[in-house]
Symmetry: C2
Subunit: 262 residues, 2 copies
Amino acid sequence: MKRSIEDTPVVFIGAGNLATNLAVALYRKGFRVVQIYSRTEESARTLAQAVEADYTTSLSGVSTDAQLYVVSVKDDALTELLPQLTAGREKALWVHTAGSIPMDIWQGHAERYGVFYPLQTFSKRRLVDFREIPIFVEGRTEEDVRFLKQIASALSHKVLEATSEQRRNLHLAAVFTCNFTNHMYALAERLLQKHDLPFDVLLPLIDETARKVHELSPRLAQTGPAVRYDTGVMDKHLDMLADEPEMQQLYRLLSDDIHRLA
Amino acid sequence: MKRSIEDTPVVFIGAGNLATNLAVALYRKGFRVVQIYSRTEESARTLAQAVEADYTTSLSGVSTDAQLYVVSVKDDALTELLPQLTAGREKALWVHTAGSIPMDIWQGHAERYGVFYPLQTFSKRRLVDFREIPIFVEGRTEEDVRFLKQIASALSHKVLEATSEQRRNLHLAAVFTCNFTNHMYALAERLLQKHDLPFDVLLPLIDETARKVHELSPRLAQTGPAVRYDTGVMDKHLDMLADEPEMQQLYRLLSDDIHRLA
């Protein structure tokens, strides 16, 4: 009987935001997630229960007979764990999920390796739908690229190949798009809280700002005082931020930069 | 026969992004938009046609018998136009639509006045649905506040009163939430273009970043290298931005600020 791709035994190294979302998505698609490793027992157990897998908190307890190891730990931890992780498991396919780490980090540690990078923001407490998430794969051999694409295609209909160089630029763009954008929301919330105004009145604006760039290039979608170069309004805003020096500096730089690209 | 609120003759002063969206929304709800004034004939004619109104490009041609004048022009232009606009039309109700301008700008120029501020980003080429848009009203008298609330309620189910002080803070928060957020999208697009990568792979991330803050406070929703204080990744990103000094400076300041509020 021909085995299907879902029968591949998968081990997750890491039980953080990305690992949780990816392991649950694979589990829901019928994949065999066999084991979760995490230094933190609670994280390991919680994710293991969610995907009906075993778990371990010791590296020596990591299963040696999985076919795919998905490593999703902090970037610094990866370099540190790598030699011990791969020892005795060199025949399996090893992938990491980090935007900023090149594929060749695996070189010398494993025979089959690659990268499986879903471009999204993940939180444990919010499980996302993978169907629309672009998944960028990279592999040392064409065979492994094909294999990773097959797995990715079970989750998403946007599966792409990307080199390590492309991926690190995607990741940097994602920091602007997601983390820095979210920080704009956080600063707005802070400002409204100071004036006893609720944050949720901003949600329709947040949604529309996001929707708009589905149709218009962000440069064309820009509105507001900076792009009009309405110095009267901008000066008033800078005055209002006199007691928030960090926000004031950001306001000035961001307005100048909007004007620069306008 | 009792007249309904939709029979109120409304004149729009201005035919820009906000005026276009608001006039069309009122027209679609059955309001009588009788005239559009704009300095630019094409803008005046285009909006007038869309709402079956007359139009004029001269201030002296502005109708004197409307009951409501909605002034939606650049902030500087408002102060300049105000005396000439209101002369001979002091009995009507005058409102502006600007977040940053206090209500008392009307004082001495009109007897009935107020503010009608829909908190949203508007572009002429993209007509938005007003139902979810918070509309903040302010009026000199309780009667005018009631009247403005009635009009706003015909468009949206989120009608609120706000003082000029609250409104200017809402507007400043909106600059962070919308204009600065959109600039993050624009910088990401710029970065991807330099590396021949398409912007649209970021759309699911943009959408999820927006959706997330419907459930979580932005501070709790934050992810990425800055909130983890992953200096390894941040240093690599700063190196990658060596040829984009403005983006590099913004990256540094925004990461520090995320860390500050974490």
